[in-house]
């Protein structure tokens, strides 16, 4: 090979790089390891982190993942393929995207979905930016959102919209019900979009119909932020109020993606057909080939950065394709009935958990509103040390809310999915009772 190039050593191929720029020793990078050595190291690291019993949710949820999901999507033909730009050589990926878009559109009650965003947080941010482009009647670029929207989602949206002239205004929640309070809304100021989280960060179900109609009456668009599993039992955003939500986004992780320390997950986004050209991200469509037979291709690409460049709807390129595939297989395996069972099992386990824990003296459930699979509990003492003590006993007891919601006092957010059994819940109640020194007589149900 070198002879063909007329050089004696590979090093000669770097002759256009100024000598002064050549790197010396890379400090801190040792010799290479064998596969056996590296696996041994990684096993030790993975096992060091224990396997606690998880009652923590807050945007990432432990669900059963059917074995066929990951055994299929890690097939090399999916796992090591690129973005399907050469459509004829990528029909497997493209058809999967089309099937995903179809499932997600139906689940959300929308007409079109894209092929994934990075995660739920960035999907919310992109939805806000999209709403500003789509709502041409509004001049204010003003977004209202509930303070009971995931705090990280609000932070990411502020970061991603920071360079553009968007403003965000938080709406308080009712201290009794935990629901968004509408009466605080200014009656006739220009609002570009209202974000509605269903369920909200506290697990509480909002009156989505009233919120949607309020927004539409003021010319604002509605951005729904939803849990995809909850949609098996909760009203589809496309049916909210008299006209339905306009953009639907959320975290796709519950659909077949492991907790995995925070990622990779996938964000989903769906909308109405009339807003499709304002939507960021890739979209697959069905068309015909030269012989008139159906096939799939990426379409409406003039929205995207590789064509529209500075005027693109977003800079997103690489997305979370493989995780979207996980979501597709998960939805196909669960079907409408399986997904409904997961949702109902989560609700039931959470109700059981709240019942068991709030029976302890020193623990009470805070909000009265109906809930999905999370709940806020108040303790009679600071939450941090209690959670630490629980962790030391192998229980992730929930999220301390004092950082993001100091006004709630000593509260924690707990979650139970279908993965938690009565025995698990009983164990949590027993350990917490010991830690609080609380009598357990009431916990018998």
């Amino acid at each position: 090979m070198l002879a063909l190039l007329g050089v004696r050593e590979i090093e000669a191929l770097f002759d256009e790089i100024p000598a002064a720029l050549r790197a010396g020793e890379l400090v801190g990078i040792g010799p290479g390891l064998s596969e056996q050595q590296v696996m041994q190291l990684m096993r030790e690291r993975a096992e060091a982190d224990g396997a606690p019993l998880c009652f923590l949710g807050a945007g990432a949820y432990e669900h059963h993942i059917p074995a066929p999901v990951w055994s299929t999507i890690t097939r090399g033909e999916f796992y090591t393929a690129y973005t399907p730009y050469q459509a004829e050589a990528s029909q497997g990926t493209l058809q999967s995207i089309y099937e995903y878009q179809s499932m997600l559109a139906s689940l959300t009650g929308m007409q079109v979905a894209n092929a994934s965003m990075y995660d739920g947080a960035s999907a919310v941010a992109e939805a806000c930016l999209m709403a500003v482009r789509a709502n041409r009647r509004s001049q204010s670029a003003r977004i209202l959102w509930p303070s009971a929207l995931h705090p990280h989602y609000r932070q990411v949206a502020r970061t991603m919209a920071g360079g553009q002239a968007l403003s965000f205004q938080s709406l308080d929640y009712d201290p009794v019900s935990g629901q968004c309070v509408l009466s605080q809304l200014p009656p006739d100021e220009d609002v570009t979009a209202l974000v509605i989280a269903q369920p909200n960060f506290f697990g509480v179900l909002e009156d989505v119909d009233a919120l949607t109609d309020w927004a539409h009456a003021r010319g604002a668009l509605v951005i729904a932020v939803v849990n995809p599993i909850s949609l098996a039992v909760l009203s589809a955003p496309g049916q909210w109020g008299s006209r339905g939500a306009d953009i639907v986004v959320g975290e796709g992780q519950p659909l077949g993606c492991p907790l995995s320390s925070g990622g990779p997950y996938f964000g989903f986004m769906a909308t109405r057909m009339r807003f499709v050209r304002q939507m960021p991200g890739r979209i697959a469509g069905r068309t015909l080939d030269l012989d008139g037979r159906p096939g799939f291709t990426l379409t409406l690409q003039a929205r995207e950065q590789h064509i529209r460049r500075a005027k693109a709807t977003s800079n997103i390129c690489t997305n979370q394709g493989l995780l979207m595939m996980a979501g597709t297989l998960y939805l196909a395996l669960m079907g409408p009935e399986g997904l409904e069972r997961v949702a109902r099992a989560c609700m039931a386990r959470t109700a059981e958990l709240v019942h068991a824990l709030s029976a302890l003296s020193g623990v009470r459930a805070v909000f009265s509103g109906a809930r999905f699979h999370e709940a806020v509990l108040q303790l009679d003492r600071p939450v941090g040390p209690v959670l630490q003590a629980l962790a030391a006993r192998g229980i992730l007891g929930g999220l301390d809310l004092s950082t993001h919601y100091p006004e709630l006092g000593a509260t924690l957010l707990v979650c139970a999915t279908e993965m938690r059994s009565s025995e698990h819940i009983e164990r949590y109640a027993r350990v917490l009772s010991e830690l609080l020194g609380a009598p357990r007589a009431a916990v018998s149900a």
Binding site: G76, Y82, H152, L259, M273, G285, R293, G321, A351
Partner: protein, 528 residues
């Protein structure tokens, strides 16, 4: 569509072409009312002491139109679909600028260890020391490789890394009261993400010309620089597959004008262990871990786009970052640094700490390679590109920059064939698919007409490169003898060339058939 149809029936397939399996019907077309993968469904518990009613107004009105299929239906359907794809595991995939190289399977195996998969992102640091140690060491290794002073791992893809970088540049100027700097310079041939990122950050993208030798036109650069310059975004080696030789001069000019330099890490594979962006004068950069450091593309993602910064941008890094505290007992303790640790941060870009699984794969890959292995990556990537470029020129293809040394990739131009024979870069690309090779990148960079951007990567053998050369030689011969054969390619794939115009004019973006489930009235499960 009732049954999988037979591909290629309507067209004669030229001899010697590969053949993929026929098409596959939609998952919805397998659906039968009442069918389901029941072993996957949970029990719904019922308790006497508690209830969980959904208020009537909030209940779903009709079931979602999800397929009702068995587990075997799902496995068979998606396995068949997988077989309609080209992939690194099955095909040579010389897609320029995308670094489609073999990624050791152990990277995937390690990231999928149960301990890593089961860990909740908000679990306390005490229950994550093994995981956080990997990330901390990854940060340190990336610093060593890039010559940067600080690294944040959380950006979820290259474009998000770019966003973080430009946002940090903007924050830096603002903090100095230098509010007027809102222009980001990008070379004509830049990736589309560069100008799109500038816009997303509220800056104005301004294009600067490339000289005939492929390097940035310094006169054009000097003319563009001024008090409005926030910075410049460069890829080096550039998207033209050549090293920007006057990079030190570019850096000097930009810095003298008060701007900062952003390094797009898309092409880092070419320089790994050989040249460091920090030493070239860059202030901020991202690394596409999914290109250089072993996460395959997964049909579109996931990726990860960690950012590295020089001293002056350290305060603005995105959150969270893994920090290390030396414990009293001398044992390191790792934890996430948050707002209190880095009050000037541009903020958060991901719901949690980033694409942890991708980060773990990169960590494993770096440990496998070690220092010498990293250099070999750059060396063999460069050798393979130069070898393939030379071979393709010898069989009659025209290189866009024949006087330049190829980096890890190179550009051919089909302008002569397009003019003389009516055969375009797209035609060559489609015919390659017939011959069992994935096509190179076509029509990027737009600066070179009828271009093919070819990146063989370091993991391909000489035999593969020779076979690819033979296929390309055959296509050139076909172009001269029978241009129409190329113009109508491919012939042997599950579909022929697709009608993109129809796809965009009459968008069919979701299945409109009505599976049984949707037509049925919504009935709650027993016991509710």
């Amino acid at each position: 569509m009732s049954a999988p149809d037979q591909a290629g029936a309507a067209s004669a397939v030229p001899a010697g072409t590969a053949r993929l399996p026929p098409r596959e019907k939609l998952i919805f077309e397998y659906s039968r009312s009442g069918r389901g993968a029941r072993t996957q469904w949970p029990e719904v518990p019922a308790g006497a002491a508690w209830t969980c009613e959904i208020p009537a107004a909030l209940r779903r009105k009709s079931r979602a139109a999800l397929p009702e299929v068995s587990e075997l239906d799902v496995v068979r359907h998606y396995t068949r679909l997988s077989q309609l794809n080209f992939s690194i595991d099955t095909h040579f995939y010389p897609l320029g600028s995308c670094t489609m190289k073999y990624n050791p399977k152990v990277c995937n195996a390690a990231a999928l260890l149960p301990g890593f998969l089961a860990r909740h992102p908000l679990a306390p640091a005490e229950l994550g020391q093994g995981f956080l140690a990997c990330l901390y060491e990854l940060q340190e290794m990336l610093k060593a490789i890039t010559g940067m002073r600080g690294v944040a791992l959380s950006p979820l893809a290259g474009a998000q890394g770019e966003f973080a970088g430009v946002a940090m540049i903007r924050a830096y100027h603002r903090a100095r009261g230098d509010e007027g700097r809102n222009e980001i310079l990008v070379p004509q041939a830049a990736h589309g993400t560069n100008p799109a990122t500038a816009s997303m950050c509220g800056a104005v993208a301004r294009e600067i010309a490339i000289g005939p030798d492929g390097d940035v036109d310094l006169a054009a650069l000097s003319a563009a620089l001024g008090p409005r310059t926030a910075g410049i975004m460069l890829t080096n080696p550039s998207t033209l597959g050549v090293f920007e030789r006057r990079i030190t001069e570019v850096a000097r000019l930009v810095h003298a004008a008060g701007g900062l330099l952003y390094y797009d890490g898309a092409n880092l594979n070419a320089l790994l262990g050989k040249v460091r962006p920090g030493d070239m004068g860059f202030d901020v950069m991202h690394v596409n871990l999914h290109k250089t450091f072993s996460t395959p593309h997964g049909g579109g993602g996931p990726g990860a786009g960690p950012v590295g910064v020089s001293e002056r941008l350290l305060p603005y890094l995105p959150l969270p970052i893994v920090g290390r505290d030396a414990g009293a007992d001398g044992v390191s303790h790792f934890r996430w640094l948050v707002e209190a640790d880095l009050p000037h941060s541009i903020g958060r870009l991901a719901g949690f700490g980033g694409n942890a699984g991708v980060l773990l794969r990169a960590y494993v890959y770096m440990r496998l390679l070690g220092q010498a292995g990293m250099r070999r990556v750059a060396e063999y990537a460069t050798l393979n590109a130069n070898y393939l470029s030379a071979r393709l020129q010898r069989v009659g293809y025209e290189a866009a920059y024949p006087q330049r040394r190829a980096s890890h990739e190179f550009i051919l131009t089909l302008r002569r064939q397009a003019h003389e024979l009516g055969v375009t870069a797209m035609d060559v690309a489609k015919r390659l698919l017939d011959l069992g090779f994935h096509a190179p990148t076509t029509y990027f960079p737009q600066l070179v007409s009828e271009c093919l951007l070819i990146e063989p990567t370091e993991t391909e053998s000489k035999e593969t490169l020779d076979a690819f050369t033979e296929a390309m030689a055959r296509i050139l011969a076909e172009a001269q003898q029978d241009p129409q054969r190329l113009q109508r390619a491919p012939y042997s794939l599950p579909v022929r060339r697709l009608d993109d115009v129809r796809a965009a004019r009459e968008p069919d973006l979701a299945y409109r058939g009505v599976p049984a489930a949707q037509a049925e009235p919504f009935v709650s499960l027993p016991g509710q």
